[in-house]
Symmetry: none
Subunit: 95 residues, 4 copies
DNA sequence: ACTAACCGTGA
DNA sequence: TCACGGTTAGT
């Protein structure tokens, strides 16, 4: 049996094409981003600095989420009876 | 003069927010992709292989463009006399 | 009981520092690897191909054949109405 | 001419083997890390929390470096005459 | 530098 | 066993 054009094939093709379409859209957005940087540069802003600013904003956000995640982890650990008491230690270790 | 709330600031903010919005959208699409993979997996397809397939399809596409580019390169190389690398060696080492 | 400067804290700090040291060493090795690639490139070898060679050597041969076989099956399954993609092509690319 | 045992081949092999050796060492270190986590767990610490702590410490470090990098970027931009004056804006945008 | 693949861990 | 996150490789 060499015929491979069955229903499974149809499905697979469908999935793959959906993914490829989504990837195309992503690519389009990436190009838009590039364009905005180009415009900004044209009006006199330094793209390098802009990237830094954006990355810092992202990091701040990440920090906040990380803090919450940490809290979560601790709370769960307390319930689970794991050894997490030396919280202050952690801070101390962290300089 | 410490006040920096001028027009430039407005513009910068605007650029940065546009970029951040675009990045958000990209992120959304990435999540959609993940979801499609999840569905596919749920219906019995192996995501890892799907990725391989997609990447091969992309390469095929790239290949076609590559062919044209290659022609270019050859034409230029004839003029420029670029070094030919020991590709056959590589195959040899690989058993 | 707020005092957290106990033995547990000491232990925790010790564990964490050991891990951090090991991670540092890993990072150092990663840099060394990069350097070797750079040297190789400087003497005329293509890093991309080198990576491929190394990855192939790492791959278990059995796994490799299995994956290729499965990949074949998928590719054929897709080829319901799409353009016919020669299997040998795939093998060639994958080499 | 199929013979591929030339000098280039020797060199290539040497590069590749060096890389493979370094990768082996990295792998060894990764195993050591795992072991430390295992020990820590055995003495009652929660590995998940330890990972969080380590990641936070790494982020702090990254933050500090990022700050310095940002400073650098600004200083250079000022020299270069790029539009970077709205520094306070940047901070403000950064919420 | 950014993106995609891989791997190891936790649920 | 699956899903996720972090890590590492590739472009």
């Amino acid at each position: 049996m060499v015929n491979t054009g069955g229903i499974a094939g149809e499905q697979l093709r469908s999935f793959i094409e959906r993914i490829e379409r989504l990837e195309e859209e992503k690519k389009g957005l990436a190009e838009d981003v590039k364009e905005v940087y180009a415009q900004a540069k044209a009006t006199g802003f330094d793209p390098k600095i802009m990237r830094k600013v954006i990355s810092l904003r992202k990091m701040d956000q990440a920090d906040r989420q990380e803090q919450e995640a940490l809290l979560d982890v601790y709370l769960h650990a307390i319930e689970g009876g794991e050894q997490v008491r030396p919280t202050a230690e952690v801070v101390a270790i962290n300089e």
